[in-house]
Amino acid sequence: MSLDYLTAAPGPAPVVHPGNAPWWQALAAGELRLPRCTGCGTVRFPPAEACWRCLSFGYELAEVTTTGTVETSVVVKRVTGRSRWQADVPYRTGLIALGGFRLPGRIVCSCGAAGTPGTPVTAGLLATVDGPPVLGFAHACPG
């Protein structure tokens, strides 16, 4: 299933280099994929060139479901770090239970329901200022 762009202020881009380019390229193509180890079958999260379980380097990019639920989320009201998030506050970010993983991402939700654990969300793409998109999530707010 292809991921749609979500409407939110762009954040900083990931650092893409030859070792990690495959999963960022898959995401930019609208696919939520994680490396699955060809040695032992472990799906690697966070995505990594080597398997944390068996140390194999081989992998294929396996598709992951795009619907999940909020585990925990917070709203950042004031930036505490780098100023390039300054334009984005307040924003909601959190951890999403999805496909047996716990994926981090900003959550687009205008109704506040995403503050409640268990709220369903759908994966999408968030544009960045100067690079490929990153994973984000959206709640289907009423209205």
Binding site: G11, P12, A13, P14, V15, N20, F45, P46, P47, A48, W52, E71, T72, S73, V74, V75, V76, K77, R78, V79, T80, G81, R82, S83, W85, D88, Y91, T93, G94, L95, R102, P104, G105, R106, P117, T128, V134, L135, G136
Partner: protein, 409 residues
């Protein structure tokens, strides 16, 4: 006489295994954010202070251990040159506050192994908003950890807006509160208790700023559940602990403080977020019941948690205390806020916590400020915040490292 070459090689006298104690403590003259003093200046103040405290001569220092160097602190070799030392053992970690107990432990092991006999464990914390403004590349720079692809040490995910330990730990606290029903009142109790201690500590940056429930809730929310008061201070200063061979310490000015037991930093997929105990279910952690409290450090000291007269916690955020109380068996899973409410953590409780005011109300001395305070307490030199009869004190962090310091011994 050597049987092979018939030569009389010099042979050192046999050594008994030395025992390491803390023989001296010192700090920079002040802690603060606008001291306008260079890291090296602060560190030399702390050295001079520790030498004066112990009566040790500078030339007797033959080892140096430090956590984080330049930028932000002072590299070991830079310090040795500036202080005119001549050491035979040196060790330096990398950035941040997590290494305080490990650096002291390593110094004690080096003394026990005979690698040095008197080690200055010395550390300076500098802020990008303070003197760091004057140092190239320091001001406002994000930590490298926050940019890691596998997630930062505190659970940061930079591209997802979890760009600082503060946002990452707010997720930890939020998750804990959702799971166990803790409230913002529970967080307030932690901040208020540490502030009350700071009011009795002239070195504390917040000594003259009392906190009431009303003033706590009036603090701006940074990232709920955290208000400004739930964060550690952003500050500068330096500390020094002199870890020495007990035989030499016995001849010095101050009563020795024994390093009774230690535990190292734990790290694994279940234990990768510095300010969350395993089993909580944040980051890559499995979300299970909290397995077992970690009692091994007590076993090595020959005591139990109930023998601890005072607890010193790496309180970069108020919720850290909950993690420590559960991790080290002071209460059961999910019961830490109740422990704080019912047993108490103030000076009038059975086991006061962070009598110096901690990172939240004294200063962010990367944990070393707590260790200096533990030594003061065990010597009976803590003035109006003295824990009566303090004989066993514990340093403990959510990431599993610990030190148990005891009186004399």
């Amino acid at each position: 006489m050597c049987a092979r070459c018939r030569r009389a090689w010099p042979r050192p006298a046999a050594e008994v295994t030395p025992d390491a104690v803390i023989a001296g403590i010192g700090t920079s003259r002040a802690f603060g954010l606008r001291l306008e003093l260079s890291p090296l200046r602060l560190q030399l103040e702390a050295l001079a202070s520790a030498l004066a405290d112990s009566g040790l001569d500078k030339d007797e220092i033959d080892g140096v251990g430090t956590s984080h160097g330049s930028p932000g602190g002072v590299d070991y070799d830079e310090f040795v040159l500036a202080a005119g030392l001549d050491v035979r053992w040196a060790s330096q970690k990398w950035t941040h506050g997590r290494w305080a107990a490990t650096t002291v432990t390593e110094a004690a092991l080096a003394v026990q192994a005979g690698l040095a006999s008197c080690i200055a464990v010395i550390d300076t914390t500098t802020s990008g908003r303070g003197y760091g403004r004057h140092l190239t590349g320091l001001g406002g720079r994000p930590t490298r950890e926050g940019l890691r692809e596998l997630g930062g040490s505190h659970g940061e995910w930079d591209v997802h807006g979890v760009d600082t330990p503060g946002v990452a730990t707010a997720l930890v606290a939020r998750h804990y509160m959702d799971r166990y029903g803790a409230t913002e009142d529970d967080l307030a109790r932690v901040a208020m208790a540490f502030r009350a201690h700071a009011e009795l500590n002239p070195m504390a940056i917040m000594a003259a700023k009392p906190m009431t429930a009303e003033s706590y809730f009036a603090e701006p929310v940074i990232v709920r559940p955290f208000r400004r008061a739930d964060f550690c201070l952003d500050s500068e200063g330096a500390t020094c602990l002199l870890v020495c061979d007990r035989r030499r310490a016995a001849q010095l000015r101050q009563p020795a403080v024994a390093i009774a037991a230690a535990a190292g930093i734990h790290a694994s997929r279940d234990d990768h977020i510095l300010f969350a105990r395993p089993g909580l279910g944040v980051g890559l952690q499995a979300a299970g019941p909290w397995r077992q409290p970690e009692l091994d450090v007590f076993g090595r000291a020959g005591i139990g948690p109930g023998d601890v007269d005072g607890l010193y916690v790496y309180d970069s955020f108020g919720s850290n205390l909950w993690m420590v109380l559960e991790r080290f068996g002071f209460c059961a899973e999910g019961e830490a806020p109740g422990y704080v409410r019912d047993t108490g953590i103030g000076l009038d409780s059975v086991r006061p916590v962070n009598t110096n005011g901690g990172l939240m109300s004294e200063a962010h001395q990367s944990g070393y400020g707590h260790l200096v305070e533990m030594v003061r307490q065990l010597r009976g030199q803590a003035g109006p915040r003295q824990i009566p009869g303090a004989a066993v004190l514990q340093w403990a962090t959510p990431r599993g490292d610990s030190l148990i310091l005891t009186k004399g011994g």
